[in-house]
Amino acid sequence: MDFEYSEEQQLLADSVQRFIQKDYDFEARKKIVASETGSSENAWRTFAEMGLLGLPIPQDHGGFGGGALDLMAVMEAFGEGLVVEPYLATVGLGAQFIARAGSKAQRKTILPAVAEGRMKLAFAHTESKARYNLAQVETTVTPNEGGWLLSGEKRVVLGAPLADKLVVSAATSKRGFSLFLVDRGAPGVEVKAYRTFDEMRAGDVALENVQVDKKALVGKKNAGLALVDEVVDFATALVCAEAVGVIKSANESTLEYLKTRKQFGVTIGTFQALQHRMVDMFITGEQARSMACLAASKADVAADADDRRRAISAAKIKIADACRHVSQESIQLHGGMGMTEEMKVSHAFRRLTMIAQQFGDADHHLERFAALA
């Protein structure tokens, strides 16, 4: 039993925090969000130098062989700083598929490139009618001489406009789907890019007879679901940790506001009704942190699949509820100020609102949790 970060983990988290203070504070972030790509090449380079991009990549492919627990402190710091870089898309999703199930050649080409910051990835999976159901894939595959032709429509692909390669799911039989590595620039791939409500970049991806060769298959044929389930659980654990950071930021900002804002001649933090609500936000933050620890400790490959699923869903239920509670109350307690784009807390509100739904809302995970009892 040990709830402190290890020395290495803490050092890494400290340097991420220092980087954010120096180069990614609220003003710098505003400019990055408003820039054409909505991301910072400088930040990405620094992430590579700090070893963040290779952190969960195997050591024999240029990484550090870390797991979800090692990423926790990083994600928490990213949450606190509301970092909008495509880290989750590339490191938390895309590279995970390759590291866990990629062919030798895929691992060799892609993993070092990701670790060094030369390649970004995205996971193109969700379709219009799928909601949070990971099994629902209608994108089609037609085998041909060169390999396969993919056609379909993927929605809200996080990081798609910035990615070099996409991991795309497509139905290879009635019983299952498979995953394919597709160049974002390949003929037939069209990305409609947009900014997201939480100020990252994503896109809808249309695939029209996109030719991929036989080496493009990631993992075994028809076995996509188990792999996606595993990787999405891993990514869910990461956003749980991120949420803890965002909640921390929102709570601190609210507490600071209660201590400084005056009404009727006194600081509003002297009003007991607001004190008790702030206490509840604080408790929610602590409970959320505990569940994020649980999620991270179960998110790696080794864990028993049902044990992992149960823990991740339990964590996501708590995190979703906590996101909702803290985001709504932090705006309310800030009053009008919290409603403005000028306050960081309003951006925390956006991210928390979206984390509550990312990879499944509370309802989705309640259903999954109950089924695993």
Binding site: A34, A202, D204, I331, Q332, G336, E342, F349, D363
Partner: protein
């Protein structure tokens, strides 16, 4: 006890409903339904349609354009507008400045301003809140110093809704900073927004929308004839306005329309191959909001019945309608967001080029910002915390 409207009231409702159906322009109806930003022209167009019909200011005295509707008719009219989804009637001229002028204004002021307000010739905004004052209005600092035939005004207002559309602003300013009581020494002034020295700066909200502003006054000269009532009696004017009866605090009609939209929308979303609305988890939250709304409508009618019976304005009851009404509005917008699930992400920033606007379904993309925007409802017009303080003090005697 009888929960139904009388045949006369029903006939009136049907008349209003029918007329709205025929006269609400389709483009405006669509913009409201899809949470699009309404332009100054949109707002004034609808104002003028109602003015022409004689329905824009029911509660005014008949000589100035009022139409003598009783409280039930006024309630029905406002809720029918909400239910039909008309653009809002911006209240700053019609139901804030005008009642003040009718009660405290000089004959000249009435003649000069009321017809233009009625006809929608002038767009008004309200200069109350300041950066340091929120719920604590009396702490305002904007100064007006009398110099001959004008006041010289310096200071800043904030949260000024639609100041960027406005021709005129009514303001609370401090004309005497020596007063013992903070409530004294405040005056009520009307400014032309084109007066030199006025700067309007947008306050973009967390949904990316521009509806409120900061307004800066730098040596703004306001003619003395624009003072309403007596110098130093502005607080009396402000208090009168705060107690001024509003019929649609609960926004029942609007929430009914949103509820119907939510049901339709949730029926069209699919969850594991079945309509989302059949999912017990989602459905129960929807049902609970529906039940609260049913209850609120009856509660509202009970207050209306009391008002009609007693002839008194509603008092602290309005606080309850505000609290419940805004909670319902927020829940509805949250359920819309939850209904659309993972597709809610796309966002159109204020500064996005128009060309980018066709890249995603604008209605779906409006749901997250709409949810964000609705957080304001429990903060503005007296935060729900302030409303609870009011009920605690006025109704419960705590």
């Amino acid at each position: 006890m009888d929960l139904s409207y009388s045949p006369e009231e029903l006939a009136f409702r049907d008349e209003v409903r029918g007329w709205l159906k025929d006269n609400l322009p389709e483009d405006l109806r669509r913009k409201v339904a899809e949470y699009e930003e309404l332009s100054r022209d949109d707002l004034l167009r609808w104002h003028r349609i109602l003015a022409k019909k004689g329905w824009v200011a029911p509660s005014w005295p008949k000589e100035w354009g009022g139409n003598g509707w009783n409280v039930v008719q006024r309630y029905l009219f406002e809720e029918e507008c909400g239910y039909a989804g008309t653009p809002p009637l911006i209240p700053f001229g019609l139901s804030m400045c005008a009642p003040v002028l009718l009660k405290f204004g000089s004959e000249e002021q009435k003649k000069r301003f009321l017809p233009r307000i009625y006809n929608g010739d002038d767009f008004w905004c309200q200069g109350y809140s300041e950066p340091g004052s929120g719920s604590d209005l009396a702490s305002l600092k904007t100064k007006a110093v009398r110099q001959g035939d004008h006041y010289l005004v310096n200071g800043q207002k904030t949260w000024t809704t639609l100041a960027h559309y406005a021709d005129w602003i009514f303001c609370l300013v401090r004309t005497d900073s020596e007063s013992a009581k903070r409530q004294e020494g405040i005056s009520f002034l009307l400014f032309d927004m084109k007066t030199p020295g006025i700067t309007v700066r947008p306050l973009v909200l967390l949904d990316g929308g521009h509806e409120v502003n900061e307004v800066f006054f730098d040596d703004v000269k306001v003619p003395v004839e624009n003072l309403v009532y007596e110098e130093g009696k502005g607080w009396t004017v402000a208090k009168y306005l705060l107690g001024h009866e509003r019929m649609n605090t609960g926004r029942i009609g609007g929430s009914k329309r949103e509820l119907a939209k939510l049901k339709e929308f949730a029926a069209a979303q699919s969850k594991n191959g079945r309509p989302l609305i059949e999912d017990a988890r989602f459905r129960d939250r929807l049902s609970r909001v529906e039940v609260e709304l049913m209850a609120l409508e009856i509660t509202n009618l009970r207050f209306l019945d009391q008002m009609r019976r007693s002839g008194n304005p509603p008092g602290a009851d309005v606080s309850m309608l505000k609290i419940k009404g805004t909670e319902i509005q927020q829940s509805l917008s949250e359920l819309m967001l939850q209904a659309v699930g993972p597709l809610a992400q796309p966002f159109r920033p204020v500064d996005a080029p128009v060309a980018a606007r066709d890249d995603f379904d604008p209605f779906v993309a409006s749901l997250a910002p709409r949810y964000g925007n609705m957080r304001k409802t429990t903060i503005y017009a007296g935060s729900n915390e302030i409303q609870r303080n009011i009920i605690s003090k006025m109704t419960l005697g705590l």
